[in-house]
Symmetry: C2
Amino acid sequence: MKKHYYAYGEFLEDLKILVQKIDRPFDTILPIARGGLTMGHMLGEHYNIRKVYAINSIGYDDTTKLDKVWIFNVPDLSSAKSVLIVDDIVDSGDTLMEVLDTLHERFPQVTFFVASIFYKSSAKIKPDWYVKEATEWIDFFWSVDL
Amino acid sequence: MKKHYYAYGEFLEDLKILVQKIDRPFDTILPIARGGLTMGHMLGEHYNIRKVYAINSIGYDDTTKLDKVWIFNVPDLSSAKSVLIVDDIVDSGDTLMEVLDTLHERFPQVTFFVASIFYKSSAKIKPDWYVKEATEWIDFFWSVDL
């Protein structure tokens, strides 16, 4: 598959576009770790939101997709009203579906929104806001620079 | 106070130095949010560790230091053996002391190490590994770029 090196500069430009699109309020930012962590960090600073947590999933074994998505490190969102879930890419959508199922079940009173940088049109679920369609493999700078 | 703009490129070079210094094993990475999140993300990728969580603290009200550090969103580390706590800067050391107190109390069986990029020599506690002494106010790229 063709590879695209996704540099910090491109990420920053995409985040600027993303924050223009996000038009609903939220009090908590929940990155899906690891992919959403840097994004969650910068959005937290931008929106001046301190409640930036993490929820973890394993759906890939390096580059091989696993049969089942495992969700762990679910934070306590019982005092949240509206949570922005962020991830770098919505690919198959399996991770996001499992994360949303888990969170809706545990915190039925909370509203959840989803923002990602990339989205694949073949995914089972579409984020509320995204910046780009993914058409090739993306080497994110946080995965390859160090 | 003199300000230093801390760009992504400098951060990357510093992380390369930091990973050369870290010489103890760990199974979990725990960024102090928000400051440690981007660092935790990149170190998680580097060490191929999926267990990158978050612990949150509020010790500053924008740039004004508060009297008391508040620790929240404490993750379940009961199955961890050795945890690397990461933060961008150990300034007064108040946040780190409070985080360590909280974690030692809740998870007495876990070994904790601390790595930061910056460290102020006047801090009450020294990280196990750090890269640079902080002598001026630092504008981290994640705080000011977006």
